[in-house]
């Protein structure tokens, strides 16, 4: 059973690269913001339908939620616009490594400092090593692109 889930995860990870690979050329043709809108517009429509048909829980009381938790929606477009800008110039693999580097650095910082109400965690030296390896990969693709 778990093997199926792992396989699904690998395939869905491939899907993310596909998404980036589609976005780059699309953004070149119709404009980067339009390409971003296609992601968010379609995504919103689909999620709304999914929620309509599956969710049993009552819709949450939005006004009772802390307002800063709503800014997640501001950060999403930053990522997608950057993706459409970067993939034509860097290629999909290098873009993904850059994103990965940013992600691991930031989530490291979030855990370390306990930002956004996340519980503070002890620094694990293994995560630092992971970060170093990703940085190394970034340098290697950079050299590879130059040569």
């Amino acid at each position: 059973m778990n093997a199926i889930y792992v396989l699904l995860l690998v395939v869905s990870g491939m899907g993310l690269s596909f998404e980036a690979g589609l976005l780059g050329p699309l953004g070149e043709q119709v404009g980067h913001l339009w390409a971003t809108l296609s992601i968010f517009g379609v995504g919103t429509a689909l999620l709304w339908m999914i929620r309509l048909f599956t969710s049993k829980r009552k819709s949450p009381d939005w006004s009772s939620l802390p307002k800063w938790q709503l800014i997640g929606g501001l950060l999403g477009p930053v990522y997608v616009v950057a993706l459409t800008l970067a993939t034509p110039l860097l290629g999909v693999a290098m873009t993904m490594i850059c994103v990965l580097f940013g992600q691991v650095t930031k989530s490291f910082a979030i855990d370390y400092f306990g930002w956004f109400g996340v519980e503070r965690k002890q620094t694990n030296p293994l995560r630092l090593f992971g970060l170093l390896f990703i940085f190394l990969a970034l340098c290697l693709t950079y050299i590879g692109a130059k040569s």
Binding site: N2, L8, L9, V10, S12, G13, L16, S17, F18, E19, G21, L22, P25, L33, W34, T36, L37, S38, F40, G43, T44, L46, L47, W48, I50, P60, L65, W68, Q69, G73, L75, G76, V78, Y79, V80, A82, A86, L89, L90, V92, A93, C98, G102, Q103, T105, S107, W115, F116, V118, L126, G130, L131, F133, I134, L136, A137, L138, L140, T141, G144
Partner: protein, 159 residues
């Protein structure tokens, strides 16, 4: 090129900040609900930006071949798989499996020049970079396994 690299790294940071915030929100409001909220706000922001800043283009979303619009589906599928799989296999395996798929496919798209992308030759530097990512994945896996039932960090990359 350097500027774009910095931008891409910054966007990765934005992504994990978003994941952390959505993790908090999801606990109260539900995963689908918080994703819907994120996408809804994202749509509005992008719409406003287009309205005021986007120059006109010859091609529009309605004139390009339809398969080019499929990007959003992959993001949603990813999110659903993540929601279903994380409780079963844990964050550590989920993270590593997705990145593995991501790296493999991005290398394939680059090398083959699929989906209208410029083909990039697979040289030794790129192979070495992938090996380095593999080492990083081993480290991330081991580190995540030690600090198990936390669901933050690298999940919910969908948007």
């Amino acid at each position: 090129m350097t500027l774009i690299i910095v931008l891409a790294i910054a966007s990765g940071m934005a992504l994990s900040a978003q994941a952390a915030i959505n993790g908090q929100l999801g606990q109260k409001a539900g995963v689908i609900e918080s994703a819907l909220l994120t996408f809804g706000v994202g749509t509005i922001i992008t719409g406003l930006l287009i309205f005021f800043f986007e120059p006109a283009h010859d091609a529009t979303l309605l004139t390009v071949p339809k398969w080019q619009l499929a990007g959003a589906l992959f993001g949603i599928v990813y999110m659903i798989v993540m929601v279903a799989a994380v409780p079963q296999v844990g964050v550590a395996i989920a993270t590593v499996a997705t990145i593995l798929g991501q790296m493999f496919m991005s290398l394939l798209i680059d090398t083959q020049g699929w989906l209208g992308n410029e083909p990039i030759e697979l040289n030794y530097w790129r192979i070495a970079a992938m090996l380095s990512v593999a080492c990083a994945l081993v480290c991330i896996y081991l580190a995540n396994r030690e600090s198990q039932p936390k669901e933050t960090a690298l999940t919910t990359q969908a948007s």
